[in-house]
Amino acid sequence: MTALTERPKKGAPPSVRPQPPTGVSKWRRRVPLLPALIFTIIVTQLPFVATLVISTFQWNILKPGERHFVGLSNFSFVFTDERLRTAVLNTIVLTASVVLISVVLGLGLAMLLDRRFVGRGLARTLLIAPFLVMPVAAALLWKHAIYNPDYGLLNGTLNAVYRFFGADNGPTVDWISSYPMSAVVLSLVWQWTPFMMLILLAGLQAQPGDVLEAARMDGASALATFRFITLPHLRQYLELGILLGTIYVVQTFDAVYTITQGGPGKQTTNLPYEIYLTMFRKYEYGEAAAAGVVVVLGSIVIATFALRTIASLFREEVSR
């Protein structure tokens, strides 16, 4: 943490602080900060402390008399439980595929929308719509209006195409039971691609035009220009998109809860959903808390990279 948050040295312009602040003015500067700081510490940090404490208890609310301290045994349970291991694996598969696919698609779309074409403004507006649809509404829409085996849009379109070519009926595929993970991934890719597209488009448009012009004058091919100029320029934006995307997609709850309920079996149960089940179906508070702590530790690893990326972007801005 400390390594990440060190202050950008060359950053602060000298005009910000004309004279060293004295004791009173120091506090006067801090006062506006305090309400938000205190509020944040109370609402976000204390629950995590509580989670840590609860994670060391054997505590099932169905057995109220049996609550007792068990040290780290909930953690050994978390690391050996097969359901949880599956959940960890599912979380990794889900997050990695959603983030990678939507970054690639988002990059492609951003490259297209960086050029001028007829109705570009309208295309951009339509493209960001999936990101703006309420996630629960989107999940229900995919589950019922698109994946439904009998009258969903997917099978319906297949059927229409089959009939058009003279066949009797199209296949009836139950998408969610046959390809549960892909079904969840597809719906999330649909939601997150616009996010990636927006960030990468901002990156592309911040690209200095003269460098591209010079490359074109020197006869660089489009591919070479992309590989050696655009991609390095986009690197920070790609990192930012990937990391912010990861932070959000790791926490995916709406889509799993709505589309598959973690099933069939435990094929799409990710960590947030598994913790929810442990808490509100099994009522094992100690185990749920321990799993929560493990998720936090995992997130800290990702967040460390995220913070470093943001810190580098941030340092550039400060030193500008």
Binding site: T5, F48, L112, N159
Partner: protein
């Protein structure tokens, strides 16, 4: 101007078509790639279009195979929704989102001021502290929050959601507002102080005009995230304080599947965010990237 427009409607039409393109600058896409770009756009928009279209159909026309996009259009599904009492849920959502957004602004603006215009020592550390709270998964806080809220008798209460949403959005708002306030020119601030302008005058005359668009963008992002939030809403509310996403899920469970009505409900609850997002597209980028990318 008016004359030219009247004289050459063709030119005006061309201008309208080109709206949103930057003048000159970017090279044009070839027709083939334009086709690809539009194909991809329509593929991404299709589910949204289908949702809106189905919401205007009768159930019998919605659940058909193959699909019937050209069935007669009516507002029946929306009327049914309002007669099935979607209103309290929308009000809860509006209350939770609007009040928490106002609270976030009230807390974030002074904080951002203390982090940019008159920065405290180690202000970057404070910034990263706020950000790090955003990276902690909400699910890990759900259990203690649930227990505390239950003990305090605050389950199924909109104010519980308001407090949680405020905490959830505060870091984003602090980061965004700081990046906007950092754009207030230091020279003007100093000049105003040298001229003896008081704090309020400086805030109102110098800071506010520069920060207003930023304030709007920040409110938009906070509103979107609160309006869409599901996990806390579904686990901490029951009958009194449930929000729109909880209504959506509950309504499938309780009434069985009515596809057209589901689409109408999904369209209705997504509408505020869709409108706000379309209206402020360019602001979205900066908000989503916490103000780190412009």
């Amino acid at each position: 101007m008016t004359h030219a427009a009247l004289a050459a409607p063709g030119a005006r039409f061309k201008k309208l078509l080109r709206r949103g393109d930057d003048p000159g600058g970017a090279p044009r896409l070839s027709p083939l790639w334009t086709f690809v770009a539009w194909l991809a756009t329509l593929a991404f928009f299709a589910p949204v279009a289908w949702m809106v279209l189905t919401s205007f159909h009768q159930e019998a026309d919605a659940a058909t195979n193959p699909p019937t996009p050209f069935a007669p259009v009516s507002f029946d599904q929306y009327e049914l929704l309002f007669s099935r009492d979607i209103t309290p849920f929308l009000l809860n959502s509006a209350m939770a989102s609007v009040i928490s957004t106002l609270l976030v602004l009230a807390l974030a603006v002074p904080t951002a001021y203390a982090l940019s215009i008159k920065p405290v020592e180690k202000w970057t550390d404070v910034m990263f502290f706020f950000l790090s709270t955003k990276f902690l998964p909400a699910i890990a806080a759900l259990l203690p929050v649930y227990l505390i809220v239950k003990d305090a008798g605050m389950l199924d209460n909109v104010w519980t959601l308001i407090v949680l949403y405020t905490a959830m959005n505060l870091p984003i708002a602090v980061w965004m507002m700081r990046s906007f306030l950092a754009e207030v020119p230091k020279e003007i601030l100093e000049a105003a102080e040298v001229d003896g302008a008081g704090l309020l005058t400086v805030l109102w005359r110098v800071v506010a005009p520069v920060a207003m668009p930023g304030l709007a963008a920040t409110s938009l992002i906070c509103f979107i995230f609160s309006w869409n939030e599901f996990m806390f809403a579904v686990n901490l509310t029951a009958t009194q304080a449930s929000t729109a996403p909880v209504f959506l899920v509950g309504f499938i469970t309780n009434e069985g599947l009515f596809l057209a009505r589901l689409c109408a409900a999904a369209t209705l609850v997504s509408l505020p965010v869709l409108i706000a997002g379309f209206a402020a597209q360019d602001k979205l980028v900066r908000g989503l990237s916490l103000g780190a990318v412009k």
